[in-house]
């Protein structure tokens, strides 16, 4: 398998081996060896928990620098609606367009139309679906990767409809290449992302194939410029841009994880946020529960995308601002409705294939794996079971498994080896 791309990197120099990231990782994908954290790539689902946990700033998100997009003739911003909840109340979406243009984009895309199109496609898909229920949303790339790593049998339940951002990228490229007489490859569709997982999903879609988007920039990367310019435009009332990229409430409502359509407002729709909650619900589905639900929307972040790890404001402020925008906007505007009705029957929204299972490569035959498992159980029985993490693995059971696989030693446990304790003492001695 080709090496997996992840949305962050660990700077060895800055890492002091404090174990915080390892403890935060929901898939046990981090080990700390010789005082440095490292990632087991196959098990990482790009949730960004480690990024938030690191107080040393040693783990950084890898988004693109803006200059990397200079090779394109024309740059279109496709901002996550979360962006619109990040500014003072007097700064309107149309002012934010000015801010994005000042930040170096040539145009800003109104992606409310694609949101509606994809919602329609989702509803049609759910109605037609004859396989096991519930159908699971692919909006959150972390959830898709969690299924690949931990619930491979449920991958078929992932909806095979592109998320709105992808369809927006495709349409933006088509639109501007036609309008400007440029080749689609000369036009960059750039997602302004609230999390680094989206960046990864663009670089390396779980469904295979290529993303319609050319890359992403993190919201913090453009925030200061956009804030300055948008505030100025709001203050002076002078705008370069005449239109608003947010014309109806439903676009923003999706960001608040509120159902949008008749099907989804019935009891057969569930919305779940926060990785531990998502894991609980997936465990229930594996046990055969929740079959009466049609559609399941899951987000790795508490509070949904407004709480992504590349946002600026705290989630509550962002959600309150989005809500007040929703209150002011019409439910749906005729222009959007017309465009949706015109485009819907002519476009294909389906993804090329279901994401494939992922995880550590299978080692040895069954007999060998049983031997290892029994060995791991034996080792686990002599470990203290306190999950202190000082051995460099997140739990005693994980260390036991690593030892049985020959990737760690029993002596890594401070309860079993005095030497290990001394080593840690030396490594983490505070200056007098």
């Amino acid at each position: 398998m080709a090496e997996l791309t992840h949305g962050f990197r660990i700077e060895e120099e800055a890492c002091d081996g404090c174990l915080a990231c390892m403890r935060a990782c929901p898939t046990d994908a981090i080990r700390v060896k010789h005082g440095k954290a490292h990632v087991l790539s196959e098990s990482c689902i790009d949730c960004g928990s480690c990024l938030k946990a690191c107080s040393r700033g040693a783990i950084t998100a890898t988004t693109r620098t803006f200059e990397e997009f200079d090779r394109f003739a024309f740059k279109v911003a496709i901002p996550s609606p979360v962006l619109y909840g990040h500014f003072p109340r007097e700064v309107r979406p149309e002012h934010i367009v000015d801010g994005l243009l000042a930040a170096g984009f040539d145009a800003v895309w109104d992606y409310g139309i694609e949101m509606r199109l994809v919602t329609l496609a989702n509803v049609d898909y759910v109605k037609r679906w004859r396989g096991p229920r519930p159908v699971i949303s692919i909006m959150c790339p972390v959830v898709v990767r969690l299924l690949q790593v931990s619930y491979p049998r449920m991958l078929d339940q992932l909806i095979r409809v592109h998320p709105p951002r992808e369809i927006a990228g495709r349409e933006a490229k088509r639109h501007f290449s036609e309008e400007l007489g440029l080749a689609p490859e000369q036009i960059a569709a750039i997602y302004v992302t609230p999390c680094q997982a989206r960046t990864v999903s663009i670089l390396q879609p779980a469904e295979g194939g290529r993303s319609y988007l050319d890359g992403s920039v993190g919201l913090p990367q453009v925030y200061n410029t956009v804030l300055a310019e948008a505030s100025e435009a709001a203050r002076t009332g002078q705008r370069h841009s005449a239109w608003s990229p947010v014309r109806s409430a439903d676009v923003l409502r999706l960001t608040l994880r509120r159902p949008l359509t008749e099907l989804l407002t019935q009891h057969r729709y569930l919305s779940v946020a926060g990785l531990p909650n998502v894991i609980r619900v997936f465990d229930d589905i594996e046990k055969g529960k929740l079959k009466d639900f049609d559609y399941l929307e899951c987000y790795a972040c508490w509070g949904g995308c407004a709480n992504g790890n590349l946002t600026v404001d705290n989630v509550y402020v962002t959600l309150a601002k989005l809500q007040s925008l929703i209150d002011e906007l019409p439910e749906i505007d005729p222009e959007t409705e017309q465009e949706v009705a015109r485009r819907y029957p002519h476009e294909d929204y389906s993804t090329p294939r279901a994401p494939a299972p992922r995880g550590a490569a299978v080692v040895g035959d069954l007999r060998e794996r049983v031997r290892r498992k029994q060995e791991a159980d034996r080792i686990a029985a002599i470990l203290p079971g306190l999950d202190c993490g000082l051995c460099g693995a997140p739990a005693c059971k994980v260390l036991a498994r690593d030892v049985a696989a020959g990737e760690a030693e029993k002596g890594d446990c401070v309860f079993l080896s005095r030497q290990r304790l001394e080593e840690l003492r030396r490594m983490h001695r505070r200056p007098e």
């Binding site: 491979p152 049998r153 594996e286 046990k287 055969g288 529960k289 299978v362 069954l366 049983v370 498992k373």
Partner: protein, 140 residues
Amino acid sequence: MSCCFRVHGRDFEKAGEASTEIKSLLKDLEVDPQIIRRAVVVAFEAEMNVVMYADEATVTFVLTDEDISIEAVDRGPGIPDVAHAMEEGWSTATDEMREMGFGFGMGLPNIRRNSDLFDISTQVGVGTAVTARIKLDDHG
């Protein structure tokens, strides 16, 4: 490799725990996902039958190089008409059970469908024993 679980009748709170443990064990052993799915369905349905109808049972899981066997031996009412119970959609479940999403008459048929070898023996007033085997392929 084998393990044993006690399952108690009417204990809906803990229902599904044995099959969840069997699942995580098979996952740890990196057994083929299709086989895990079948084994978990078998274990889950067997467990639910005990929870719904019997007093208590022992569920035994055995893994060999050739196959997985799951055996549920319960102390309970037994089944008067086994042929009927093997029909899809036939159930003696109460409304309460149906409200919880069970009792659609798919339990035993589901176990048989997902196993390569299936055996049931029952005695009214004494109990029921269900044995299912799932063959492992070359990849285990």
